[in-house]
Every structure is written in structure tokens, then in C-alpha cells.
Amino acid sequence: MNIKSSIERFDVQAVNRDGSQKLFQPPKKIYPKRVEGLFRQLKWLIMTVTLAVYYLTPWLRWDRGDYAPDQAVLVDLANRRFYFFFIEIWPQEFFFVAGLLIMAGIGLFLLTSVWGRVWCGYACPQTVWVDLFLVVERFFEGDRNQRIKLDTAPWSFDKIQKKLSKHIVWLLIALATGGAWIFYFADAPTLARDFLSFQAPWVAYSTVFILTSTTYVLGGFMREQVCTYMCPWPRIQAAMLDEKSLVVTYNDFRGEPRTAHRKQALKDGQPIGDCIDCNKCVAVCPMGIDIRDGQQMECITCALCIDACDSVMDKIGKPRGLVSYATLEEYDKAKAGTPVENHVPILFRPRTLLYSAIWCLIGLSMVLVLATRSRLDVNVLHDRNPLAVQLKDGSVRNGYTVKILNMEPKPHKALFTMKGFENAKMRIENLGSQTFTSGQEIELELAPDQLRVLKIYVTVPAQFLPKSDLDFQFEAKIPQTNDSHVTDTRFHLKKR
């Protein structure tokens, strides 16, 4: 054995060899440039509408009579009621909300499979509020170049003044955002008065504080980091997209080879594409990416780069659409020389039809349930311990707790009956020692939007005892509204 072969050589190098390895990376600040165009117009419109809906909804009124609040949209956690215009739901009807959430989810799938990430680009609160914060930023600090200059400039009175004003307005917007949230949970005018006079419950203040902080931090500082690192949707939506989904596309077959020195290139006889490499599409991007690199996870498809590029194409006298909304399929066709103008066919394919069908099915069934739901309900709880009580004279008694729910915000007179139980006697503890027989109607006052609890004893004399446990019913009806409800229950002979 010689020395050479006894020494093992290791295939390894120092981790800091290239001197550039970073474990953590500071975010590069993005200075989105203002841009004008069709999609910017659309974004302004959607921003105005969504913000208006959010801030103004709690202030809408809706008359529900004397026994229910007159706020159009109210989540009354204390009294466990949810009001939405003409709809009032009780906690046990929460499936309506669950159904709406499922519809929202499937709606999002549908939109994504047809128009790509339109939710991200236009309607997501993160996008809307960042847009709003950018408006403020531009107002005080100017557009992209001025902001870059300001940030690199040394601190001066002017810089402090601009930065301070921006942050104050941001905080005010954040406060208004957090503030609007709480109005959905209590009578808005009353709460506003209490809030300003420091009379509101602490939970209102803490909610406002938390939402103010998150709005300020997410809208002012985190911005695109939220979309890239915090939000799960960009990762999930890849599964929703296919070759027929609209995405913002750079038509490289038309743009490349890009050059900023067109005259020189022409003179040299080199081929040139339509892209003049002005980088405007990068400058306007709120995510700070270059759409010419192709589809990227960061792209929220806000289409501001389309507006930017279109304005440049107009200036240099080239047709619009170097950057455009297109499906992968359309891109391939256009590349092959047969551009597609019409987006309609993408609406009809198995995937979208399935999403639409599920969406409609849930929607229609909820509408059906809503339209036919009864605002009167009878819940029967049989005493379980003991199930049955043997009395002195050999008769057997069962106890029931019956809850009659009047879910309308109006007082009602109801008729309550025990049905299908010959020879049994019913005593209602709340009404004294009087006994009632099967089929005998008892008039009850029902308070508006409340449940009435009755403790009921049903006794069967020894000589009439059935051979086995027996089913019978309790019924409540409101003659005035023709509403009625029957609930089955059981009479037990043995105590367990």
C-alpha cells in the first residue's frame, strides 16, 4: 500500500467560498410607477366600489319593525342573530353562511379557471388597500423617480414632512378600515358615538387596534411580500389554471429580439422585435417583476404592464398587445400565425361547466330552502334521566322540555297540541295543574324573535299503558300566518 492511495480525498468546498451566500434577504423596495389605461380605469372602478361597499354597508338601514334592529347588515353576536337585509338567520341556520362560503370558494375557482388571477389583480383586499396606500404615497412623495430620489436623499425638513404626512394619512386610513369592521357587529351610529366618547366595550377598541395595525403594516410595508410569502392562494391557483385560462402574456415572438437601439440595429441589418426594452412594464409593476420573463408565481395579473406597454406601442406607432391577456393556447396559435380574437369559447369547457353547475346547485338549493323555510319551530327534548317515572297508581309519566321557536320579529298567538296519543294526559308546568288530552289545542303567546320553553309531563293511566314504547307528536301552529310545525317524539315505559 502506498501513501497516495491511503489518503482519502474529499470532494468538498467552503460554504462561503463565493462570499455571497445570504441566509436572509432584505426585500427590494418597489416603486410602482403610475400608469394610465383601460385596466387602470377598471381597477379604479373596482377599488371605489369595493371600498364603498366595505365602509358604507354598516350604515345602511332596513326597517324590520319594532322587535328587531334596523341595520341592514348586522352580525349580532350577543343575541346570536345575523341580519342581512330581508333575511334573518338564527345560529342553527348557519348553514346559509357555510353555503355562501362554499359558493365564494367555487366562484373563485370558476373565475380563476376562466380569467386567471383576476381576484388577486382586482378585488383582493390586499391589492385594493395597497393601491389606496400607493395613491397616498404618490400624493405626498410624487411618482416613482421622485420617490426613489427622496428615499436616497439625506434627511431634511422636506423629507420628514413628506414621510410624516404619508404615514399619518396611512394610519388614518388604517384606523377607518379597522373602525368600519366593528360596525358590522353592533348598531353603527350608537357604536360610533360610544367609540368616540370612550364608552365602547374594550373588545371594540382591541379589534380596531389589531385591524388598524395589520392594515397599516400589510398595506404600507409588507405589500407584495404578503402575496408572495403569506398568501396560500398563489400556490393553490396553479392547480386551477390550464392552457385555456387567461394570463398576462408577453408575446415574445413579436417582441424579441428586444433592443433599445433600434436605429443602430436597423442600420446594422440585425432583426429587431417590437419591444424597445424601455422597462416601463417593470416600472409600473406593483410586484416588481418583469412580465417578459414569462409566467411567474408573483404575477397577480393586474394588467398594469398591459396598460404601460400599450401606451408605449401607441407612441412608437406599433399595434397594441405586445403584452396582452391571452391563454396559453392563444399564445401558441398566435405564435404559429393564427391569432384568436375572441375569448368566448373558453367559457364553455367541462371544468367551467362543472364549477358553474356546482355553484348554481348550491345557490338554487339555498334559495329554495330560504324561500320555503318555516319561521316556527318546535324542538322536543325528552327527559333522559329517568326516561320514565312510575307513579303510585301504576300510571307512567314522561317528562319533556319543549321549545317553541318564533323566529319572526313579531309577537304571535300559537296553538299548541299533543297529537296521536289517546288516553294520555298532558300537564304543562308553566300553565299550572290543568291537564290536556291529545288533540286539545292550547293557545300560547309567543314573544317576538324568541323561543318559549315549556316543561311538559305526559302521563298514561295504568289501564291504558301501551304494550311498548310509543311515538307521538307535538304540534305548534300559528293560524294567523298559516305556519305550523310538527315534531315527533316518543313515550317510554321503563326508566332506562
Binding site: 463565493d18 441566509l23 434577504q25 410569502y229 303510585k392 309519566r397 317528562g399
Partner: protein
Amino acid sequence: MTDIKKVDEVSGTTTTGHEWDGIYELDTPMPRWWLWTMYGTIIWGVIYMVLYPAVPLLDDNTKGTLGYSSRAEVAQSIADAAKAQSGLRSKLEAASLQEIKADPQMLSFAKAGGKAAFKVNCVQCHGSGAEGAKGNPNLNDDDWLWGGSLEDIHETIKHGIRFEQDDDTRISDMPAFGRDEMLTEEQVDDVAAFVLSLSDTSAQKTETGAKLYADNCSSCHGDKGQGNRELGAPALNDQIWLYGGDKASVVQSIHSSRAGVMPAWAHRLDKLTIKQLAIYVHALGGGE
């Protein structure tokens, strides 16, 4: 496997050196705010450890500068609840049982309080639903040994039955007719048959049984077996048998007697709790 760090051509990022079938793991740096968030949680953790009980020691733990304790918080909640109830409690203390029964607010408060006290003190014998067991009366039914009015129930809870430590306890002693040789085995058998016939007309009975009953039993249990609440003598003509309604059980009752004991609660529970218990038991469905 060879670990070679290299710069990935597409992304321009260094790889970690791990490679599986030609697939390399990118060593993409995390965003720096993520790091700050971690530092933030560490700072939060340190502050929390200083302010709140946190570090376990050998026989204790650090207390934290805020002096927080979940036990104290519970005690505070209980004190707050007691304070919130104090108005109603004193109202109930001043009211008579009948007044409480007539007032819906007091009634529901007393029933709730009685239910809680029942679950702690009474369920061991009477069962969690007051359904009773052999020798321990069912409190849901309409059969009462010592009376089923509010006042009677209250008295029974307060002083107990055959509870010697209480001077006001109610006592009744049924003789052990067989064991003490007051009746012979055949006589006990005859009486038992007659007793069963009081509630069941189809049962067989003898003249001697009837005579023996009239001589030995009727003074307490009544000539028709209707019982006597003053003496705590159970009715024998109904369908409820505390110790079983079959012949053997009745024979045993006559032979050896029965004498269940209920403790007096006046020594252990406050007056209001006893009142609430009486209200609760009375409202179980059999109250008179």
C-alpha cells in the same frame, strides 16, 4: 451521493449541495422580515417569561412580575359571580318557600342552585336524575314517605331521617317481626301475601293474613294499607316498592324490617342551599 454546492444556472441561486437523481435543492434565502418576525417572537417570549409564571423550578415555578395566577383568576370569577348573585341570594334568604315558588325569577334561580347542590350532595344515593334505587327513594314520582309538600321536603333535607346526630330527625322503627320472633315464618308469609293483595286484587290472600295484618300492621300502615306520613309508614296499596314488590322482598321486609337513613344537611349546607334543594326536588314532577 456527492454533495457539491454550485450555482443554479436558471435561478442564479446557490444550491444546498443536496442532490437526488440530478435534482438539486435551491438554497433560496428567506426574506429578512421573516427573520425579524422570529426575533420578535423571541423578544415577546422573554418579556412573557418575565411578566408571567413561566420557568418550572424543582418544587415551584417562577411567579412573574405581574403576579398572575390562573387560580386567582378563577377565585376572582367566583367572587364576581357571587357578587352578581348577592342581591337575588339575599332576596331568596328572606323569602318563604311558597314565595319563592310563586316568583318566576326566584324559582328559576333556586332550581338552578338546587340542581347544582343536588349533583354534589344527593346523587350518591338518589342517582344523578333523582331516579332513586333500591332503598333510596325515586324523587321524581308522587310517592312520598314523609310528605311531598315543599315544607315536608325541606324538613326532610334539613333534619334527615333516622339520623341520630340530629335531635329533630324523624324516626320510625318497624319491628323485625320474623327476626325478633314476633311472628312465625308461616305467619310472615301470610302477611306478605295479604300485603301484596292490597295493591294487586288478583293476588292470593288468606283470612289469617288479613287478621295478622289488622293486628300487627294496620296501626301504622293503615287498615287499607294507605300508609301514614306522620310516622313515615309507606303506603302498601300502591305500585311503588322501595325495596322491591315481589313476594321474597316483602317477606324479607317483614322479617327483618327496613330502616333507611338519610343524613341531616342542616349541619353541612347553609340555609339557602337547603331551601334551593327543596325547591329543586319539589319541581322534579312529583311535588305536592
